[in-house]
Amino acid sequence: MSNGNLTLKETFFRGIWKENPVAYQVLGICSALAVTVQMKTAIVMGIALTLVTGASNLIISLLRKQIPPTIRIIVELTVIASLVIVIDQVLQAFLYDISKQLSVFVGLIITNCIVLGRAEAFALANPPLPSLLDGLGNGLGYSLVLVAVAVVRELLGSGKLMGIAVVPQVWLEAGYAHMGLMTLAPGAFFIIGLLVWLKNSLPGASHEQK
């Protein structure tokens, strides 16, 4: 990927919408869904992933001339795994409850295709500053999808946003029922599917290749 005619701003914003990693590149949805039952966990997960993608892109880009091509995957995985350990320790120290809820999914950032994918596709070939921005942009794009899914799931599934009830009591008394399906696994599949449909139908979004 040549960086010659891309400004830094474009590098950053490209990942957020136009080439949004979840909806467009079909990468990294592995861990995206299990933490989207509540907005709180989704936001924390998004921040964690954005930091890891940004930092790993920066480090790998700084090291790109030293890494021998034959063992680059191992080097990349080591860098990413070390960053994830740092994030996990920080979460355990400061946000213990959320870290318990995220359980294994923080660790699974290591095998998240976005992080490794950006390192492979961008950071190995570009200077540090664009790589950092590319990583942060892609991480934010991922967070955007994660939070969008979480908003729908929490709102429809339990009538709350950020843990605060937003569905008026009057509705519940009038017979409004929460949509239990949304808190279960199938709800996440459906929302992602519909989200991709929405994004593909919007003007300006590039169509996914079959």
Binding site: V26, L27, G28, I29, C30, S31, A32, L33, A34, I74, L77, T78, A81, S82, V84, I85, D88, Q89, S103, V104, G107, L108, I110, T111, N112, C113, L116, L181, L184, A185, P186, G187, A188, F189, F190, I192, G193, L194, V196, W197, N200, S201, H207, E208, Q209, K210
Partner: protein
């Protein structure tokens, strides 16, 4: 024995690693276009999971867990924070070793599974199983059964998806939903179907 059987059934159907924890999604989307490839990848995942789960169990319980190093006189150490980097290294190493061993001793198996093995090292289902095993505090036997069960469940899901996709080739899917979108919707319907098993206890 009943416990192990019920753990197996549970990890195949109720707690399906793909359909209820969303692990191994990348290869699920990418490979499910072809039934034969999905079967091959499915077997490779079962194989690798059944080996890596007990290997990671042993490493965690004899090297990393709090107090695990007491056999070396270092009982006060708690290295469990190293589990991510250790597990991913162990998985990558085992996958590499398995690939070489199969290549040497069973060319038939190698030609069937060989191309999939490198893909597996970064499959979230493998690392996820190892991390779940630690979190749920399984014993050695349980971790073997859990590994095999997760792999079987993953294979079941991907083969079913490949079959459905083949059926769907002639279906009239709305523009824009085609491809990735419809895969997710079908995945959701499959997850709903699998939830019917959740009443089963042995």
């Amino acid at each position: 024995m009943t416990d192990l059987l019920s753990l197996f059934i549970n990890s195949v159907f109720i707690g399906n690693i793909l359909l209820s924890y969303f692990l191994g999604m990348c290869s699920f989307i990418a490979v499910s276009n072809n039934i034969e490839t999905s079967v091959g990848l499915g077997f490779a995942v079962i194989f690798v999971l059944t080996i890596t789960a007990p290997a990671n169990w042993a490493i965690y319980h004899y090297l990393l867990a709090p107090g695990a190093l007491s056999w070396a006189g270092l009982g006060h150490l708690d290295l469990s924070f190293l589990k991510y980097i250790t597990f991913i290294a162990v998985i990558a190493a085992i996958v590499q070793a398995v690939e070489m061993i199969i290549d040497r001793y069973s060319p038939v198996l190698y030609s069937a599974l060989g191309v999939f093995l490198p893909l597996i090292a970064v499959n979230c289902a493998i690392l996820g199983t190892a991390l779940f095993m630690v979190e749920r505090e399984y014993t050695l036997m349980e971790s073997i059964v859990f590994g095999a069960g997760s792999g079987t469940g993953w294979m079941l899901a991907i083969v079913a998806m490949a079959t459905i996709k083949k059926k769907m080739r002639y279906a009239d899917v709305p523009d824009g939903l085609d491809g990735f979108g419809i895969t997710m919707i079908v995945g959701g319907l499959m997850a709903m179907a699998f939830m019917m098993f959740s009443g089963i206890t042995l």
